[in-house]
């Protein structure tokens, strides 16, 4: 905590928007809230299984505007083959215009880096809310860069927007604080991919916040792909507000980081709103991943669906908490939630808790959670055909995971992840291209 207050004091004059009284006041308020509330502890119901105490003991320096010598070729590893995208690249938290591709956007689409957005006083304000959340406050106090995205009504953005957040291996621990702010106009459509990746064993703390307001009858497909370094911390808050008849599909994949905590806060504010969230988290060694989802059905005729799967190996630990609240008067809603976990080792552990709070009577809700191992009968069946035990295990694990991945609409992302997972699960035996017969 001391460390952060000190960092704030050190940086307050240099943070983007420091010249703007409004932004300045906002940052000051936020850091005060962090100072008052302190970091959550295990006594906090939402943090029962995930301790942030080690964070308080480390000295994370806010990443300064150094610009490492990264070239376009270095990015190839992070791009999805054959996927044509608009692209914003951030290196250790800083926007890199030279590596990005957001010029010549079609009419009716705004994609802007956050830092300069904050500096210009003529811009409309960002969406700022949910400040009861300490990590969100911390993000607001420090937000360094990120993306502001707007679509005008009726605009269909054909190419996805790929946001690549790269951390690099540097001296000491450092903090990056991205903020993404997306608002869609009525009847518009956009796909946004947030991709957190590392070059080398970056000792980074990412505290990212995404704010989404889906306008009336708009469509958003949103990806949160976390592949940070195994030394990193990844803390993410994603807030979604949905207007009438809007449809938001989210995909969350968490593969990296020593500790990852991802929170979704979904508000279905108006009739016809639909939110679908697919999630896959994987851990090995001593990785810890925690997903918290809060779905608020505030209006009748809204629909939500969450399907999360976890695969825990080694001595890793997975946490899932999905809470669906159906508010008074929110009749005729449908809410489906499932969380299935696969334990690949005796030391791996999962804590899962689906919760339903219903204050309306005409609703359709289903939820369930399972924790299990690979099915022995399935394994034997494959082996009885001549497939080696390790490959049989890999195949079944892959199939378990692919159920989530296969729901991604962007094929190149799906394929890239499928390949990556096949490589993860198969340690010695080579997978042939798993899809080459499909």
């Amino acid at each position: 905590m001391e460390n952060w207050l000190q960092q704030f004091a050190e940086h307050r004059e240099r943070l983007p928007g420091a010249q703007q009284p409004q932004i300045r006041a906002l940052r000051e308020e936020s850091i005060q809230r962090v100072a008052d509330a302190g970091l959550p502890t295990l006594r906090d119901e939402d943090w029962r299984y995930t301790s942030l105490q080690p964070l308080g003991r480390r000295e994370f320096k806010l990443s300064e505007a150094v610009s490492p010598s990264l070239e376009a070729a270095d990015l190839e590893a992070f791009r999805f083959p054959e996927l044509d995208t608009w692209q914003m690249v951030f290196v250790d938290g800083q926007f890199m215009p030279g590596l990005s591709k957001i010029e010549d956007l079609p009419d009716g689409v705004i994609v802007h880096d956050l830092a300069s957005w904050l500096v210009d006083e003529n811009r409309e304000a960002l969406m700022l809310r949910n400040e009861a959340n300490v990590l969100a406050s911390l993000n607001t106090a420090f937000m360094v860069d990120g993306a502001v995205i707007r679509t005008r009504e009726n605009v269909i953005v054909e190419k996805p927007l790929h946001l690549i957040f790269i951390t690099t291996a540097r001296e000491g621990s450092f903090m990056v604080v991205p903020r993404i702010d997306l608002r869609t106009g009525a009847n518009s459509e956009i796909r946004v991919v947030e991709n957190f990746v590392a070059m080398g064993a970056a000792q980074s703390l990412t505290n990212t916040l995404t704010n989404i307001v889906a306008g009336e009858n708009s469509r958003i497909e949103y990806y949160h792909l976390q592949e940070e370094s195994k030394e990193a911390w990844h803390l993410a808050n994603i807030f979604v507000d949905q207007k009438q008849d809007s449809r938001v599909i989210g995909h969350s994949v968490s593969l990296g980081a020593a500790l990852a905590r991802v929170d979704f806060h979904i508000n279905l504010d108006a009739a016809g709103g639909e939110n679908i969230l697919n999630g896959l988290y994987m851990g090995k060694d001593r990785q810890h991943t925690d997903h918290h989802i809060l779905i608020e059905h505030l209006s009748p005729h809204t629909r939500s669906e969450q399907r999360f799967k976890g695969i825990m190996d080694g001595a890793s630990r997975g946490v899932f908490n999905g809470k669906v609240v159906v508010h008074e008067g929110a009749q005729k809603i449908e809410a489906v939630q499932s969380n299935r976990n696969l334990l690949l080792s005796d030391q791996a552990e999962v804590d899962t808790k689906p919760e339903l709070e219903i204050y309306a009577d005409d609703v359709k809700c289903a939820h369930g959670a399972t924790v299990g191992q690979l099915n022995e009968d399935e394994l034997f069946y494959l082996r009885s055909r001549g497939i080696g035990e390790e490959k049989a295990r890999a195949l079944l694990t892959w199939a378990f995971a692919d159920d989530v991945i296969s729901r991604m609409a962007l094929d190149p992302i799906r394929q890239t992840l499928e390949k990556k997972l096949a490589g993860e699960f198969s340690r010695t035996e080579q997978f042939d291209d798993i899809r080459d017969l499909v």
């Binding site: 009885s384 080696g388 079944l396 017969l437």
Partner: protein
Amino acid sequence: MLEINNLHVTVDGKEILKGLDLIVNKGEIHAIMGPNGSGKSTLAYVLSGKEGYEVTAGNLLFEGKDLLEFSPEERAREGIFLAFQYPVEIPGVNNAYMLKAALNAQRKHRGLEELDAMEFMALVKEKVKLVQLKDDLLQRSVNEGFSGGEKKRNEIFQMAVLEPKLAILDETDSGLDIDALKIVAEGVNALRSPERSMIMITHYQRLLNYIEPDFVHVLADGRIIKSGGKDLALELEKRGYDWVREEAA
């Protein structure tokens, strides 16, 4: 080809097979009949190496090699195939992919060149006709959502692709209507060869009208208590098992 001597098998602490003897020579078809729970599937599982089936006495020799030394996949690669009584559904694992992986693992074991996707699909096209399996089932998850008859046909289709030396068909005929039974039987007959042996487990003499066995055995109380030719099956169907048991006692 297969020699089983005095086989004793325990499952969950309960002795199921109690001194079973059986010899299957190259090219022979043996039918095994017997009451429910007599240990027929247990025998099939022990031959293919399923875990949890503890052999407490006796031995299993396949082409002179001690089968108990081999894992399930090694047995398959050596040429043993089990058509399951209840084929397992495997969500998310593509039928064709699974079979290609299986075939190539077996070919590799035998020092043969692995097949690429094109060669494999050509082979599949040929074999799939044998059991009249719909093409689209190949592109679905293994057995997922298949009807009972489709699952059984899929087992025989896999056998056709893998070309085992010894096939164990565990009640492949159960639950099939007469048309489906004919198709399956034709498929099996097409795979008969002087090099290939089969053990057919069945409750129904009907199957043996279509696939003629060389021997019929009665498995009861964990042992083969009577053996004979195909006429034995007719007699069993008429008179049940009790008289055989009494005779044996």
